[in-house]
């Protein structure tokens, strides 16, 4: 997937003009947050669960090596294979090798953000293997040559017309505006793919160390067909998904469903614990887990460690007013919203990713809904510090800040400056710039503000000036009385 993050601002600008997208984002804003609120309301102990989730994740991250090793030995014991991928390319290579070993022509895929991260689909296609996305949203995107704009509702940026058009082109059927008809079309098309696929690739929401199991949660059941029908099942997942026990997994499942979609529980929760055993009715003959690092182990022990608690529920983006305004594609890479603003610079470098941690008002809504209490604004601020210390902050901002800081550290000088500024602005408000004396409609060098809104003018003398006068007057009064 191309990295378009440096063009965040331009992409955001386009997104703001895109009426269809704005409508879709409006629906999203009405939908998930509302459902989450109801689900949380119905569960008084939800905040306690969040604390437990946070603490458990912290414990796991402190002992990540231990749990990963346990997971690996259990998978091996169950007859599966674990592969360690340092980078995204490593992961793709490992998966390609497995596919080639079984002479795979087509692979079906359940939804996996990690595979978006590694660019797996493109890689397989380049090497003669056809990947087929089976999550309905992902399937639509694949037909359109598009990418997800949201991590749990990947096609949220599209409307019915877009879907109808894509299906019409690829299914050789008349156009329809009936969602049920469209769904049936997708179901028919995908069923053929499920049957012929040589390999099924899924992600994993969690990897359970005590049993060597991986789990996927879906609302469509496509994941089950992906992992049980083909002879080979490959799980691509990242190292921080490991949890110690099945019971720990259930804690996260409760947090995940409520935070993501406001469901008590996701419809399908499917565990894979190795290849089919003797007497099993179904299941793959080969079972592989590819554990992707891709920069994550570097985050352990760093100031970004808290980010590894993320369980990919999307609550932060569902509630983020910036995401709600510009949508996921503006973020220019795999992970959008506040979680992406922390994760993306880690993976593509702060040089390319700085626009994202800056695109936040630090309103804190994301942190307030995060099921594992990730301090997202704080982590975004870490990136800004990194950017600042590497002198990557734009020159104008840097210059502005240092001039301001020079004054802010010198109260007497600062007083003179505020006095002058407030006088100057007041003067401007009374001149042709104002039009109305209480406000300014245009301020030189402040177009960012006055292009869209008026600037209320200062009342007059600064508080400090007036306070001093008041103190002096009081003193005189005191003396004269």
């Amino acid at each position: 997937m191309d990295i378009n993050t440096p063009f965040f601002k331009a992409r955001a600008s386009e997104a703001l003009q895109d009426e269809n997208l704005q409508q879709a984002l409006g629906n999203l804003k009405q939908g998930f947050p509302h459902k989450r609120a109801i689900a949380v309301e119905r569960m008084p102990e939800f905040d306690d669960l969040r604390d437990q989730g946070r603490d458990l994740k912290n414990h796991i991250l402190e002992h990540l090596d231990l749990y990963l090793e346990q997971f690996e030995s259990k998978v091996t014991e169950n007859g599966g294979h674990v592969h360690w991928a340092r980078t995204g390319e490593d992961a793709n290579q490992i998966i390609l090798d497995i596919c080639q070993q079984v002479n795979a022509k087509t692979v079906t895929k359940g939804k996996s953000m990690v595979s978006e991260e590694t660019g797996l689909n493109d890689y397989l296609e380049k090497n003669g293997i056809q990947p087929v996305e089976t999550d309905l949203g992902e399937y639509i995107l694949q037909l359109r040559g598009d990418h997800p704009s949201h991590i749990i509702a990947p096609a949220i940026h599209l409307n019915l017309e877009d879907v109808s058009e894509a299906f019409h082109q690829h299914h050789n059927k008349p156009k329809s505006d009936d969602p049920v008809t469209l769904m049936q079309e997708a179901r028919d098309a995908l069923r053929e793919k499920f049957v012929v696929a040589d390999v099924g690739i899924t992600g994993a929401n969690f990897c359970v160390a005590e049993t060597g199991s991986t789990i996927i949660v879906t609302n469509e059941g496509n994941g089950d067909l992906t992992q049980t029908l083909p002879k080979t099942h490959i799980v691509i997942t990242s190292i921080e998904k490991v949890v110690p026990t099945l019971e720990d997994m259930t804690l996260f499942l409760r947090l995940l469903a409520r935070s993501a979609t406001g469901q008590e529980f996701t419809v399908y929760n499917t565990l894979s614990s190795g290849p089919r055993r003797e007497g099993d009715q179904d299941g793959p003959e080969n079972f592989h887990v590819v554990l992707v690092d891709n920069g994550r182990s570097e985050m352990v022990g760093s100031q970004f460690q808290d980010m590894l608690r993320c369980i990919r529920c999307s609550a932060c983006m569902n509630h983020c007013p910036v995401y709600g305004a510009v949508g996921g594609h503006s973020y220019g890479w795999v992970y959008p919203g506040p979680m992406g603003s922390v994760l993306t610079p880690k993976m593509i470098g702060i040089e390319k990713g700085a626009a994202l941690p800056n695109a936040s008002t630090f309103c804190g809504k994301c942190e307030s809904v995060c099921p594992v209490r990730i301090p997202l604004p704080k982590l975004m601020r870490h990136w800004r510090e990194d950017e600042f210390s590497k002198h990557l902050t734009p020159k104008a901002a840097r210059y502005g800040l240092s001039s301001w800081a020079f004054l802010a550290k010198r109260p007497t000088l600062y007083r003179q400056f505020t006095k002058l500024s407030s006088w100057g602005l007041k003067l401007l408000a009374n001149s042709s710039f104002g039009g109305d004396k209480g406000k300014l409609e245009k301020i030189p060098l402040a177009g960012g503000w006055t292009d869209f809104r008026d600037m209320p003018a200062p009342q007059g003398e600064t508080f400090m000036q007036q306070w001093k006068q008041r103190q002096a007057a009081n003193q005189t009064d005191g003396e004269s009385s």
Partner: protein, 310 residues
């Protein structure tokens, strides 16, 4: 200085943190804050060595400058029992001060102490001083307005300020609070955010002003001048050709301190607010209070007034 009874607790010695925006744009917020503090028996001073809380540097990633400004602010407020500011955002910043110093640095401890005794004004009045101290004064006020309250992000999420301003405002006779949709959603100001990403900020404040207008309130009230400048600026731009439609924007302390004789934010003159239901009902109710009408008569008259207003 007020005489103290020996058994009485000495009046709190409060240092006012004026906030750079209020200092420059709206000094009346500072004077309203002082008035409220004095009404509750506080001794108020304004330390001269203060400038800004340091948030612009902190949020741009310049820790060194933010630490230098923090040190200056800590020194400036060293002698005060409390630091009080008419802004949740600036007090929120002061709560970050301890993070700016190493454990070995003596300023770390001082920063923690300052953070612990720093309060946003409505939280100080309600949580520290207690409503009783101000209740009588507030109940004497009569402000026939319908307001809607914007919960600013830092105050709400960092300091837990939600109920305090509302409880204080509820004491005022004639004042009606109409909650807007998404009162807790960011207005898009975000300090430097609004100039770094003006278009996104504009979308956010446009959404916000829609909710404000839909609430039916005649006055927008909030506790942070940054947000208020942003929203007031947007509301004014939108009603450029219909100034009569403008929702007036005010800081909460201006209502609590009964300082409505100064123009709303971004306005030049004190505006006679457009007649609205609440104002009419209020006038009617006071009229009826003095005459001796029955409950049903009162109700009928109120309905008539409402219809007239529509």
């Amino acid at each position: 200085m007020p005489q103290q009874h020996p058994s009485e607790k000495p009046s709190p010695n409060v240092g006012l943190f004026i906030t750079c925006l209020a200092d420059m744009f709206r000094p009346s917020i500072g004077f309203a804050t002082v008035k409220l503090l004095e009404q509750t028996g506080c001794r108020v001073s304004v330390p001269e060595q203060q400038t800004c809380c340091g948030q612009p540097a902190y949020n741009t990633g310049d820790r060194r400058t933010s630490a230098e400004i923090a040190r200056m602010t800590i020194d400036a407020f060293a002698g005060y029992e409390y630091l009080v500011a008419p802004s949740g955002s600036c007090v929120g910043m002061i709560k970050y001060y301890p993070e700016l110093f190493d454990k070995e640095d003596p300023y770390q401890q001082l920063a923690q102490e300052l953070a612990d005794r720093s309060y946003e004004i409505t939280s100080f009045l309600f949580d520290v001083i207690g409503l009783e101290a101000l209740q009588q004064q507030l109940q004497q006020l009569s402000i026939p307005r319908t307001i809607t309250y914007h919960d600013s992000c830092s105050g709400l999420r960092q300091l837990g300020i939600k109920q305090q301003p509302r409880e204080l405002l509820k004491q005022i006779d004639g004042l009606q609070i109409e909650e807007m949709t998404e009162a807790e959603t960011c207005c898009g100001f975000g300090g430097t955010f609004c100039v770094k990403y003006p278009e996104i900020s504009n979308r956010m404040v446009s959404n916000k002003s829609e909710f404000i207008n839909d609430s039916g309130a005649d006055t927008l009230v909030g506790g942070d001048l940054g947000c208020l400048l942003n929203m007031a600026g947007k509301l004014q731009r939108q009603t450029k050709d219909a100034p009569g439609e403008l929702v007036e924007a005010r800081h909460v302390v201006e209502l609590l301190a009964d300082m409505l004789d100064i123009p709303g934010i971004g306005e030049q003159e004190v505006r006679q607010l457009k007649d609205n239901v609440s104002a009419k009902n209020y006038a009617l109710a006071s009229e009826l209070k003095s005459s001796e009408l029955t409950g049903s008569e009162l109700k009928t008259s109120a309905i008539t007034a409402e219809q007239e207003a529509k």
